[in-house]
């Protein structure tokens, strides 16, 4: 399934909803969109992975890159993910210790600014 990206504002956060497959072919589009959001002034980004069917190391690299960029700008990035196969990927790579992970977009927004 192709990558889909859509953005909305919620409670002072920019929510980027990602769907489909994030891999070595599609990840550059995710990277471009995140850079656009940061350049446009977004500082608190919530990436909703709820409709992602597939995520590989390239996609994870893009998410870490965005996290670093946002932290340098004094902002933060959190992730929404409640699917066990994806959560396992974060555990195996130890990236669950790097990203604030939430089960729902609402929980991510309620948690306030991510570090």
């Amino acid at each position: 399934m192709e990558l889909s990206l859509s953005t909305r504002a919620l409670g002072g956060h920019t929510v980027l909803e990602v769907g489909g497959e994030v891999d070595v072919y599609t990840a550059p589009r995710l990277r471009e969109r995140l850079i656009e959001l940061v350049d446009a002034g977004a500082t608190q980004i919530v990436v909703d992975l709820g409709r992602v069917d597939f995520l590989d190391s390239t996609g994870l690299g893009v998410l870490v890159g965005a996290l670093k960029r946002l932290r340098q700008a004094g902002g933060g990035l959190s992730l929404v993910c409640d699917k066990e196969p994806l959560l396992k990927i974060f555990r195996i790579t130890a990236l669950d210790q790097v990203f604030p992970l939430f089960a729902t977009v609402e929980a991510a927004v309620e948690a306030g600014p991510a570090e």
């Binding site: 070595v24 994870l60 990927i89 195996i92 790579t93 130890a94």
Partner: protein, 144 residues
């Protein structure tokens, strides 16, 4: 024993095709349904790694994926990059992955290896027997 071979130009767009074929052959071979996500991810990571190496070295050679189901489901992903480069991609320990001073490229490579090592119990990365290149060999049990 049944064998399926797939060769593709080292372009990211073809990695998805390799994943789809790899999972289809795994299902046909009798790999348990609950392992198929891991098979899909691992074949994708191995192919992504091969494509990255070919692009790094400017190699137009095809990446070869060979799937066979003699007793186990065995997938070999073969690149043609210099051996020292291929084997040099060895693992970063998980705590290193969280190190924010890593470059994005190094992080992606490290994460890719962590996923391969984490999802494939029977994993070998070794020089090809003939010529230049490395082989990532992954084995999954067949449930029949």
């Amino acid at each position: 024993m049944a064998t399926v071979r797939l060769s593709f130009s080292p372009a990211p767009v073809h990695v998805r095709t390799a994943r789809l074929v790899g999972v289809a052959v795994a299902r046909r071979a009798g790999v348990a349904e609950e392992l198929l996500d891991e098979v899909r991810l691992a074949i994708g990571e191995a192919c992504t790694r091969a494509v990255a190496l070919h692009r790094q070295y400017g190699l137009a050679d095809l990446v070869l994926v060979e799937m066979s189901d003699g007793g186990n489901y065995v997938v070999r992903v073969i690149d043609r990059a210099p051996i020292e480069a291929g084997l040099g991609l060895a693992a970063l320990p998980p705590d290193e992955l969280a190190n924010e001073s890593l470059t994005d490229e190094a992080l992606t490579v490290g994460v890719g290896f962590a996923l391969l090592a984490g999802f494939v119990e029977d994993l070998q990365v070794r020089p090809v027997e003939v010529g230049i290149g490395t082989e990532v060999r992954m084995v999954w049990p067949v449930g029949r």
